[in-house]
Point group: C2
Chain length 476, copies 2
């Protein structure tokens, strides 16, 4: 570890322990130099890193302050304990379904939803493309467009990779029914019942459900809400466990919103290459970046064809159309065959319709609008949380996607809060559904994917009151 | 067994053994009475049964003749040997894929195809429905129409069951990406790795692939090309093996075209009910009946919610749209959850589009035209086969669907024939892909789902010549 990294880690620990509270002014660079005996350059780079991690924020002419969503202390500690835990069978589905079912009722403010608002998408323009292509569709495309899929669509997908500087061969891109199918097929392609799979903690519950369904075993690797996956923990797990595959989200991770910095993605790919372990990279939120560019996914560093990059249009363009894909490297043929065997093909007129939209519909213009809207909604959410949440509640400030991750005071139970919130017409996603070991009992995921309105504002206020009450209730 | 059934079986054996050749005149009823010492009524009912089985045909004023597609001798014998074989692990995919891949080349006459010609479907009218519904789609349907699926579509599906006199609760109908997904989800819902599943022999290769993929074990139950599944063999297998599920096609079975008579379907359901074994009923061809009515599926006799009836619009209306369903009885919730976990949802605008077509597009009118076309194509196929095939080749004459099943002389190898045919620009589906034990080496499935033309005629002629050559080659 470099000197400035060591310094940043020390200071990060102070922030997370609460010694430096949210909103507090950070020591000046001069003070840091004096106190830690480091060079100006080291101090400067350490602060730069802390800022990149989202722990501190520069305020013009007045120095650095601890950022609102900085510390999610409980989460790190809880997950660190499990880093080297034995692999475990998974039994999460019942809990996930009961939470999802409760949140499906209309009239509930959908802070627990996994989807952004459908009002944010160009559904009329898409319908035009779909109408056009289905009317002029060559009847034989019902045979020709079988997996790997519609060629025009795969070309458009390959072009988007090219836009990031990545060259993906057309025949390694397999079109699927949304990213969820891509992820599941990739997992099936590289595992057999009983195998051990590394997942994130906290992580997307669908990974846990897939592991449960396929009789696999999970090893949970802690995720830092700023920098993402704990690579040291992964390295240790790879030494001690016969890990056969990894399923990770590298950009705007669900539920924390964490994005792995580029050098960490590169290190991840190299680590897995040394162990010859495939990575299923779930990157469905990458296009929803608030910075200038798409944060390069891990597949950018892959030289062995071990990374299967999975994404879709469901979160960026066409919710409900169910078009996703896997750029599956050396596993592409296997994934394609599994697709043929399980669901045969993604809907063929829909593949053609989306290809047409990508060519003529103005996808990039739409994405710019969408990102601007989501970013504004995050600001509104942050403001509302600041107003409503009692002391001791912290949350992340992701640089893309549409989820924030809250750590509540340690004895507040998210499942109880979920039930109370539903009674008040508000849904949320409680922490335990993101962990095989039902951890993160005091964490919740909130969705800011809906245009801000008074209902959402009120819902945050209600949550704030419920959390305040729970926090005041004496600990058992 | 009744007396007339015993008599019919005796005579069927004579036909199948070749003692009574295809085209030969059957003994008169008077001769039968004298020869077998049975009553007139018994003789009459035996002939009626032989006719129902498709083994003989009445010709006005001149008595009965052995029907062209009567005997598929080798198949029956081969399958009988395996009736009580041990359950086995399955390894069929490689063979299936190499056959499918070879048949995918354009320019090949698609006698080996699994699909009917897309030209037979009202794709323009469908496109109109799809355009209409996607333009007027409520954005929130992307959430509301999640599994079990679009309500208008499920209502239309329920109405079609009602048309057969069957009442299927809306919430037991789960919309899927084609019947293939429905079948796979149903299988997953009722099995765990290592379980034994009964399948047909010969049978649809996707069942074998699913068993292979899910680490299940297969028991093959023989299928009679006239009456379908051998119930005695199934009853014995149920006694000797811990069968956890059955996957059977009861109407126009793939590949034989066999349809189980109603009383045998009823007996099947009762047998499985006694053993509390679920039936996954694959009924994708039921709407393609050449008689007046849809032959009632087995689910019509189900009183315990053990039958999961799977079908789709892929073979009847909308190839490539990928909309199917399972009416999954007591397993509906489990199937719905598996759907949510693996592919989330069928394409939502497409569900709405098909629902609109079913309401306003004239589905029944289209189906009548489609059935008439297929029936004419079967007649043309039969005529061409009669002209082209050498002695010793027999085939089935199904009463629906679009497959005929040929038994070639015993030492003609269907896989060799397949390779030779491909070189001549003709595909076929060789028997071994329909069996885990690679049986039916001398059988092939041909597709008559394409409007008859000179290319197809020539292709049949080519097959006839190749088979004649192979038949003349001395047996090794």
């Amino acid at each position: 570890m470099n000197r400035y990294e060591a310094l940043a880690n020390t200071m990060a620990a102070e922030i997370r322990s609460g010694s430096l509270a949210v909103g507090a002014r950070m020591p000046s660079l001069r003070q840091v130099i004096a106190q830690h005996g480091v060079s100006q350059s080291t101090a400067f780079r350490a602060y730069y890193l802390l800022e990149e991690w989202g722990l501190i924020r520069a305020q013009e002419r007045s120095g650095y302050y601890v950022a609102p969503g900085a510390a999610v202390r409980d989460m790190r500690e809880a997950s660190a304990k499990r880093a080297l835990a034995e692999s475990a069978k998974v039994d999460i589905s019942e809990l996930v379904f009961s939470v999802l079912e409760a949140a499906k009722h209309t009239g509930v403010v959908p802070l627990g939803s996994a989807f952004p608002s459908p009002m944010l998408f160009p559904l009329q323009r898409l319908a035009k493309s779909l109408a056009q292509t289905s009317r002029t569709m060559n009847p034989w495309s019902t045979v020709v467009d079988l997996p790997p899929g519609n060629e025009a669509l795969r070309q458009q997908i390959a072009l988007r990779y090219l836009g990031m500087g990545l060259s993906q061969p057309l025949d390694e891109i397999v079109v699927t029914n949304g990213a969820l199918e891509a992820l599941n097929l990739c997992l099936m392609a590289v595992t057999r019942p009983g195998d051990v799979v590394a997942v994130e903690s906290p992580g997307f519950y669908a990974a846990l459900q897939a592991i449960e369904r396929l009789d696999l075993r999970a090893v949970e690797i802690p995720v830092d809400p700023q920098t993402g996956l704990d690579l040291d923990a992964l390295a240790q797990a790879l030494e001690k466990q016969p890990i056969r595959a990894c399923w990770f989200m590298t950009n705007y991770q669900n539920p924390t919103g964490a994005t792995m910095p580029l050098d960490r993605k590169k290190a991840l790919v190299e680590l897995l290459a040394r162990h010859d372990v495939p990575l299923i990279e779930d990157d469905v939120y990458g296009e929803l970046h608030f910075q200038a560019d798409y944060p390069l996914p891990a597949i950018a560093f892959d030289r062995k064809g071990l990374v299967m990059h999975c994404s879709s249009f469901s979160k960026t363009l066409a919710p409900g159309y169910r078009i996703g894909w896997a750029a599956a490297g050396r596993f592409a043929e296997k994934v394609q065959r599994l697709k043929l065997m399980t669901t045969l093909s993604a809907s063929i007129p829909v593949q053609a319709g989306i290809a047409d939209y990508l060519q003529h519909g103005g996808y990039d213009r739409h994405l710019r609008k969408l990102r601007t809207a989501l970013r504004a909604q995050l600001d509104a959410m942050n403001l509302a949380l600041r107003r409503a949440m009692p002391k001791g509640v912290t949350w992340t400030m992701p640089s893309g996607g549409y989820f924030v991750w809250l750590a509540l005071p340690e004895h507040v139970d998210a499942l109880t809060l979920h039930r109370q919130a539903i009674e008040h017409g508000v849904s949320l996603a409680p922490g335990p559904i993101f962990s095989a070991s039902r951890n993160f009992r005091n964490c919740v995921r909130l969705n800011f994917g809906h245009p801000w309105n008074a209902d959402i504002d009120r819902a945050i206020h209600v949550l704030g009151e419920l959390i305040t009450q729970a926090a005041q209730t004496p600990q058992r």
